[in-house]
Symmetry: C2
Subunit: 139 residues, 2 copies
């Protein structure tokens, strides 16, 4: 229990995405709500915003934490976070679905553990996890 | 320009926080909006949720990206993210203010760079940054 953590947080860098999708607030909102539901999460709050001339930011707050996105259609890039707590929801299900729907050519994603119950483990465990090669995925 | 990145993302683990504050949705919402404004950010969307019997989750979407929090009052713990893009807003201003207002005894925080314009730099730069000791703060 001493090494238990409360959450799993995927930080994903998505490149070569479909710029039209990245600039469509409504479509991204649907993708993110669907991603949360596919992962088995319970949606609590949804807030998305379209910027002028381009770009979308948004979040889905779920009972199990959150999903966020910020898009730069001009670069075909999106910064995506999927943070879940508990054992019931797999954040990778949501991440993989988002990658597919944004038509990303490259994804660099790391999973970090959040909330070690013994806080003295936080810095060293975080560092160790950040260095674990198997947790850095390139698809 | 090839090594430029679009955003700065602070992941902060806050321990020993005031449990009463961590369980107060309204107070946390005010703290987070104030934190965004103090850092010079422009607030776009605000969505916070209170869980039963305890815990608050929420997000402030700013023009420059987002701030999020998830609290576990029973452990005195909060997972806080401050993600900003552009040079105008300093995410550490918001993070330091949040730490103060939650009365955190310990904070472990890392700043990650997001959105390298040359995507081939993303994995190795991310790894390098994650390993930079000076970017892991303990206060």
């Amino acid at each position: 229990m001493i090494n238990s953590c409360l959450g799993r947080h995927i930080l994903a860098e998505l490149y070569g995405c479909d710029s039209t999708v990245l600039n469509d607030r409504q479509q991204i909102e649907v993708i993110f709500v669907d991603a949360a539901l596919k992962a088995g999460a319970e949606v609590r709050e949804v807030a998305f915003h379209k910027f002028s001339p381009h770009g979308v930011s948004g979040v889905v707050v779920i009972s199990e934490s959150h999903l966020t996105i910020h898009t730069w259609p001009e670069y075909g890039y999106a910064a995506v976070d999927v943070f879940t707590c508990g054992d019931r929801v797999d954040p990778w299900v949501a991440c993989d679905y988002i990658k597919e729907m944004l038509k990303a050519e490259h994804i660099f994603a790391n999973e970090l553990k959040r909330g070690f119950l013994d806080h003295t483990n936080a810095p060293k465990e975080l560092q160790k996890i950040m260095n674990k090669k198997e947790e850095q995925k390139e698809k």
